[in-house]
Subunit: 344 residues, 4 copies
Amino acid sequence: MINVSIVGASGYGGGELLRLLLGHPQAAVKQATSRSHLGEYLYQVHPNLRKRTQLKFCDPAQLEPVDVLFLALPHGEAQKKIAGFAGLAGKIIDLSADFRLKDMALYEKWYGAPHAAPEWPARFVYGLPELHRAEMAGASYISGVGCNATASNLALLPLVKAGLIDPVSPVIVEIKVGSSESGAEGNAGSHHAERANVIRTFSAFGHRHTAEVIQEMGLSHVSLTMTAVDLVRGVLATAHAQVKPGVTTKDLWKAYRAAASENPFIRVVKEQRGIYRAPEPKVLAGSNYADIGFELDESSGHVVSLCAIDNLMKGAAGSAVQCLNLVMGWDEMTGLDFPGLHPL
Amino acid sequence: MINVSIVGASGYGGGELLRLLLGHPQAAVKQATSRSHLGEYLYQVHPNLRKRTQLKFCDPAQLEPVDVLFLALPHGEAQKKIAGFAGLAGKIIDLSADFRLKDMALYEKWYGAPHAAPEWPARFVYGLPELHRAEMAGASYISGVGCNATASNLALLPLVKAGLIDPVSPVIVEIKVGSSESGAEGNAGSHHAERANVIRTFSAFGHRHTAEVIQEMGLSHVSLTMTAVDLVRGVLATAHAQVKPGVTTKDLWKAYRAAASENPFIRVVKEQRGIYRAPEPKVLAGSNYADIGFELDESSGHVVSLCAIDNLMKGAAGSAVQCLNLVMGWDEMTGLDFPGLHPL
Amino acid sequence: MINVSIVGASGYGGGELLRLLLGHPQAAVKQATSRSHLGEYLYQVHPNLRKRTQLKFCDPAQLEPVDVLFLALPHGEAQKKIAGFAGLAGKIIDLSADFRLKDMALYEKWYGAPHAAPEWPARFVYGLPELHRAEMAGASYISGVGCNATASNLALLPLVKAGLIDPVSPVIVEIKVGSSESGAEGNAGSHHAERANVIRTFSAFGHRHTAEVIQEMGLSHVSLTMTAVDLVRGVLATAHAQVKPGVTTKDLWKAYRAAASENPFIRVVKEQRGIYRAPEPKVLAGSNYADIGFELDESSGHVVSLCAIDNLMKGAAGSAVQCLNLVMGWDEMTGLDFPGLHPL
Amino acid sequence: MINVSIVGASGYGGGELLRLLLGHPQAAVKQATSRSHLGEYLYQVHPNLRKRTQLKFCDPAQLEPVDVLFLALPHGEAQKKIAGFAGLAGKIIDLSADFRLKDMALYEKWYGAPHAAPEWPARFVYGLPELHRAEMAGASYISGVGCNATASNLALLPLVKAGLIDPVSPVIVEIKVGSSESGAEGNAGSHHAERANVIRTFSAFGHRHTAEVIQEMGLSHVSLTMTAVDLVRGVLATAHAQVKPGVTTKDLWKAYRAAASENPFIRVVKEQRGIYRAPEPKVLAGSNYADIGFELDESSGHVVSLCAIDNLMKGAAGSAVQCLNLVMGWDEMTGLDFPGLHPL
């Protein structure tokens, strides 16, 4: 049993961490901080936690030493305070974008400003177990993952790992997202009357998570096009790529099945009947699974690869807890056994 | 052809007024004011108006004299400036709560503060044509109506007018509402991720629109219980009352049919087959109809009376334009012919 | 560790039972039947179960003896086959309406036909632990509960148990429900384009679950008015009743807190700040909690009591598994620890 | 004033035609047929038409001669009966897929069977005024348009017409659609509990509307990927193409503005501020507008072109009425002036 604390626990990523860690058989939640909800019960902000904990949000200045510290701060804040946090815990698992990118030039290009602690990102393992499982055992620092990057990377992983796609052809990833992705802070466009019923392509190019796909997949010609739809939780990435000449559907099946057999949270969804024939975030709310699937047009070599996740789970807090398990040497699925709901 | 201007046109009520008046064959929209969107094209805020008008929002200080002035300000503002507005136009149609209540004690009880211009409300006709049509011909000042009050009043109108309900028994009106009802200004609870998927009883007692039901229906024992659901436009009032001994379903049919035949925008919906057997706001978005219906438990005398409206139309801008038509002596339905959509 | 099987496992109640029992530490799922999906993998119908089980739906005729048999058949079927099922398992937990009502006259009145096995209902404990916990220890037969009846009964329980409401005044329960309540079989009105965006009062009086409120609460003047809203999972019951003279808010607080302290799955939600001030099904999807709350108009004695549940959990499969735990003498919360999601 | 009748008027396309034609100042609706709803009032199926018409659905065998006959039958039926329909009216406007494709080999490839009346398609003008306006004046036969084809064709029109895109590079159109697109007949996957909250890529390749993009845009390497989202009305096409070397954002602005100035129902939406910066179907429900926009990555030449429409309006009934206006020599916008709603 270890002690953990969560910094920035009133946001959606922090709330999901709380849910998972309060239910984790090997972890005890010691403190949870929030400046905006200081002194409130956790369950007043996260109503699902009522009767599960009597903890109140405390001030970050009151943080005490702990085994593992989780950071769920707005992007840009953790990098300013990382040295202080490192003094409180030997192991840090971050959820923000601050320590994901290893090349500081790439960071500056996509985030528009120099990194405040450029020596730190290299100390962090990129926080997607499906890509860096081996490096996680015993690691001290784990970065967050972008939810859209995760859906994209897991859609492309089987193709890239098996060397099936043409590295020169551009890869177009069309991403559809729910409203929780933009966080707990509202804005004019997130007002329900404006945000309901949308199909809103809010970014054709240039989403920051693109940098994580470039870094992790080693692809240079990749674009993410972002469309908001009427859903709270969930991301679907539909990636369009070109396979190398001669690649067949059978080759793809092999690659996708390998991904599922090597990773407990990856499932292949490719059915000929029924309602749920392809990956869909609808069935993943609250679960840490990443469902992947594909279709190949053999005549043209155009492959469509799909990945569905819950952006707050596999795309944020779920992967973070999975990383905790790997760092500590526990079973990878500990505390992450909720399978999602049908129907929802 | 008359000139009209709209004060406070960037909100939802104001936007709906703009849509209706820009399409009205007898009215020309001269000015539309908004402090927060000063200088922007109307269509930048109300995207449905693109290619329909090149008007920009102007400052209220720049308002010019006009035949009819529509006020769509936040509650409390119009009463402070009414004398000035009256200097600009011989006829004023307000959408706010400022001039609805005639008894200043009732106003103060429900709005928590004395009225800033207590001599004015009595000059205004309460703006629901179904209740005050005769007084509207040639009137100078017309008040707004509360959307929930309108759904309640029209649910109760056939019963009250025909003297069918027991005036002593309490009347309980259960009201379900969409998110546009709370206006264009967001708050923490209107953030999509928090507001989607709700069944949220946000007011068990004490909603301010209750006062309009007390005033217009002459009922003293009436309560409105408000529940927000996942919808943008629409109100359904489900009113529970006790009929007088001996009142039958046939009596009710007669009263409801009379309401529909006397009022072009009232329809009775009470079918034995099909999907749409009772009033539903789903089919009313953008329309000025009020659909009413009922069920009577003859054994107990418990009647359930229903009224569905679009809160921004019959519950606000649609009734206001209907009032304009009556004030000017035009056909009551002018410019209000959109029938709603199926499906939506 | 016991063996369990589920009859009628392709519906929504059966699917939720499968999710819970596959994750239950003390139960092993042996068989799951479905005539319409015979031979299919469970996960082809319930996509959340992919990678959790390799079981296929089998024919009910192939059922083998088991410790506990769960029945999730359409209403009316279990009563015809109950003797056969009783030959397969010493303990049966049913989800249908077939064994809920104890008075066969009441059954016939509300279900419109005589019961096919009138000697059986009396052998079943009504399946709501909050009402019949003591009788469940070691019991052989447990009935299902109506989801709307459960929301109504738990809204009324604190008031009735403490004797706070006037038994003569009519009790009006306004119930708002999601679409999963009507089951996995579609109909014209459940087609998404017709069912989305609804506020549809589909039953003013006469919903069959009323009989369970009459039986369990001992109330005679009670009506349930049913309104469908745009949500998949969830029920909110808003009950209107009259308290006895002199009953205060403080009395109510005491009664509601007692209900929460006596029942691990009952929580009182009554906050003065924040977004989630009253019970809401939005935060309960997948959870077995029943959130209750109230408002009292002390001047009139009109009390509004609220209860929110997930209709497939506390209103069906969750209560059934809670009953299993009580029947077996296990901790009541075993396998029911999922707290729901925020946001969703 | 002309007489029109509608064959197959109980579906969604037929219902929308009814709404438009009942409100059209130059057309009188004489008959509306439906086999499944024979003898019912139109408003029992299309509840928005209550109090607008007392017509009942009649049998197609009872059709009388008329000036213009609208056909809204399921695909495949009109081609079998076209000779008979042609005997009833000199002008026919069809909504189905039966007469859209001119090359019978292309038809057979995409529809999987030979055409039943192969001499007829050539007599029909393809029913999108933005592509065939000149041919429509006085024409006798007008075909329907696929809603997804229309969104795709109008997204690509400015690029193709101005010769800005590389004709060799593949064009990938990602299309997101609401549930009304699949028609009024439900299926297992359209059941609300299964269809709500989806992001469901149901067709990666091979959607039949692709053939209309090939035919009308003259593109050979084009694919349509279809994703269903939680919305009733609306289509958004996000088209990815490669511009020719040297093409700039300025060139694109010119091409898009030209499309808007030549076509009354096309609008360019490309704003730097506000909530509605790009085309969105949310604001188009009930309107005949097609909103288009674009983003160009000048470094790579990758252009993203967007088109939003209401699938039942510009994608079906709205375009059909626009064609009627052009065929009859009336103002193109007659009866199509509803601008959509904000918010919705």
